[in-house]
Symmetry: C2
Subunit: 211 residues, 2 copies
């Protein structure tokens, strides 16, 4: 179970929509490709979207060693990491009850920098396999100077929670017999057919990309 | 032109990928349904995803008058609003040059609360029409108590910028002749066929939802 603290307890829907169970939180993190990381300098918040990998109870991000953003947060200042998957628009009979079906996670944590070469190289493989499954062995192998140019940061996933909405609209009782259509419009993120660049027009699409 | 300030000038790709022109920033805001709003209390950042509407150079969000989040930011403390549309996974011949085609916006601003009834009612119409175009007139009309229960906040869009990546992978010159497929995997968010709830199985799908 994750830590339920004042920071991870919302003011509304605290019972129906909140989850502190890794079995709910981790699959959301594994399905989402991007998170938004927020940090604050003199109470001025900054937010950056970035790709990430979850492994056990840790979340990993990377970037250039020259990145201002990474240099700010590697000192271990408090960060808030948020992730949202949007599943459907919830179309009610009244505008007021329109909503969204979503699965979101918020993590409060602090960065730690990882300098170990093998850990960095292994992160690259895990990130690549998360974004394009089964592609790692097919690609040109990583070079050590590429690993060296990259900063890897890790965050504990401990003070964290998920918030989700699922199911149909909740219209007011007196509206339920109105002849107004209500239901869901699914809005999944879909992967479409790959488009080759000009160097690849004569290269067969590998099987890991054709499924 | 939007304000280019130290906060809206990144450490990397400051020339190629940054945009301060409303003609680039506003369409991204109009296409995105959700933003992430970050604020900070005693240097502890918090982030909340929420729906929004842009109108001229203002961004509007709403929520329950009981929302802890809205009550925190309505005082006018600094917020950072971020939006990201992900268009494609950029698959290079090496893992190192994998990337993402995206269109993102960051806005630094402060909330102002709007209590005017007509302004709040008109926001509801604009938000509903943004999320489900041409649906407002079809729905059960808004009730005044619904407007009263809702808090509306507005932010100036002035210190703001867009960051985008588009186009094909940028592989190293020595990799360009490798027989490894490279290109794009488009990952648009698609609206699928609406699914009626049990109150609506015998109600015809209105034309604004069937396109």
């Amino acid at each position: 179970m994750l830590q339920k603290t004042p920071k991870t307890t919302p003011s509304r829907y605290a019972n129906q929509r909140m989850h502190y169970d890794e079995a709910i939180v981790f699959p959301i993190l594994d399905e989402a490709l991007f998170c938004t990381i927020s940090y604050s300098v003199d109470n001025q918040p900054f937010s950056i979207p970035t790709a990430f990998v979850r492994k056990e109870n840790k979340l990993y991000i990377h970037g250039s060693v020259g990145s201002h953003f990474l240099r700010q947060i590697e000192s271990g200042i408090p960060v808030c990491i948020s992730v949202m998957l949007t599943d459907a628009l919830v179309v009610a009979k009244s505008a007021f009850h329109h909503s969204v079906n979503y699965r979101s996670v918020v993590i409060f944590s602090n960065a730690q920098r990882i300098d170990d070469y093998e850990a960095k190289a292994s992160f690259f493989k895990e990130l690549t396999e998360k974004i394009v499954p089964n592609s790692w062995e097919y690609l040109r192998p990583m070079k050590s100077k590429e690993v060296d140019k990259t900063m890897l940061l890790v965050f504990d996933i401990s003070e964290a929670s998920a918030k989700t909405r699922e199911g149909m609209p909740s219209d007011d009782e007196e509206d339920q017999s109105l002849p107004i259509w209500s239901g869901l419009i699914p809005i999944p993120s879909k992967r479409l057919t790959p488009i080759p660049d000009e160097l690849s027009v004569n290269i067969p699409l590998p099987s890991h990309l054709s499924n």
